[in-house]
Symmetry: C2
Subunit: 224 residues, 2 copies
């Protein structure tokens, strides 16, 4: 047991993330296809999952990171499809930028709309958010429900509504792969985890990677 205790790296709490990122950098392999901003996002997702497969499956539309950053500089609202994703997004960073993050999944009104229409609560949430935030910069951060992405695709096609960015990282086995393909072909800026993998933690990590390009956690201020 003492040998396990002795094998612990002596890293100060504040340095754990820096050390983790060094390890990820040393193991990640060839990232020459990524822009510096894309690489920061991929590395943060790997930091969240310890799964290097995300280097191979993350897809970015052209300028998606710049578009996302611009939205965050302009008081964007981030709409998530889970309370978990919502609670994983950095509130100090959002506050410093004058942004907010919301999730309507636990709203009783959404539950009854979903039930009445035989759709998922995620789909009902997307419709509600698209209606509510028509005049805002909206980033959708989807970490669970493929039906959220399918709904967004339909809303975008039918209602002439264009979110700033869709972070599409639902995880799972039913319609997940297809839902991401729809978004990649929708013309909307996207950051996607292609295939089955993703999750609420991944969606939050992508949001935080963008936020931390603008917000300096050590000083609690925005970068100049």
């Amino acid at each position: 047991m003492n040998s396990i205790l002795r094998s612990l790296e002596n890293v100060r709490p504040a340095d754990i993330e820096r050390r983790s990122m060094e390890i990820i950098e040393s193991e990640i392999g060839d990232t020459s296809a990524l822009t510096p901003e894309q690489k920061l996002i991929v590395k943060r997702v790997i930091h969240t999952t310890a799964d290097f497969d995300f280097l191979n499956i993350m897809r970015f539309s052209e300028n998606a990171t710049d578009i996302g950053l611009n939205a965050l500089k302009n008081n964007a609202v981030i709409v998530t499809d889970t309370q978990m994703a919502l609670s994983g997004i950095s509130k100090p960073a959002l506050n410093a930028l004058g942004c907010e993050a919301v999730c309507f999944m636990s709203d009783p009104q959404i539950a009854s709309i979903a039930k009445e229409n035989g759709i998922t609560r995620a789909a009902a949430s997307m419709n509600y958010a698209a209606d509510l935030y028509r005049e805002r910069n909206v980033i959708f951060a989807i970490g669970n429900a493929p039906t959220a992405l399918v709904s967004l695709y339909e809303i975008i096609r039918e209602c002439n509504f264009l979110p700033s960015l869709i972070i599409g990282a639902p995880v799972g086995f039913v319609n997940v792969v297809q839902s991401k393909q729809l978004i990649m072909n929708s013309g909307v800026p996207f950051i996607i985890t292609q295939g089955r993998k993703g999750g609420s933690g991944v969606a939050a990590a992508i949001c935080n990677a963008l936020l931390y390009m603008l917000y300096d956690r050590s000083s609690g201020r925005l970068f100049e």
Copy 2:
């Protein structure tokens, strides 16, 4: 695009999880080493991550699932190390069982204790919880901080405090592997994701897998 839309499986919202579990069952391979309860837990983690690697890395101490289920039948408190894990644990199931889940990570008092002592907030949270819940059935569900597991190991060794169960699923690169080894050698009942992988979603999924063995989501009641 229409071909992608046509390729969507037509599954009712309520049936998506059942269908996902069927797909997992058909792809998971040999699970003969697992008890039925262990298999339910592994399948729920794969459902949460789409990562079949968890079949190979999940470790259960003897009777850990029975011990966990017993604690949940006896008004256990689940202590998490992230708000994300907390928000992912089923509140209806907890309520029906008379259990609760808590997380002290955002408590300002914990932050100042951590700062004063040069320890992580996760470590300070574990000390606080061990003190507060000395007379309760406690399940620790750790999805992020290896320092939480190291602290628990030290608390158990020094203070004669025995949690009912430790769910050890921190994710990451610094001291994560070792922290799990400590718990596996501590004598405390454990459910562990060996190696680097894990996460808040995984910790919550393990809790929910246990809860759903006792709580019937379709009726909102406990199983007889």
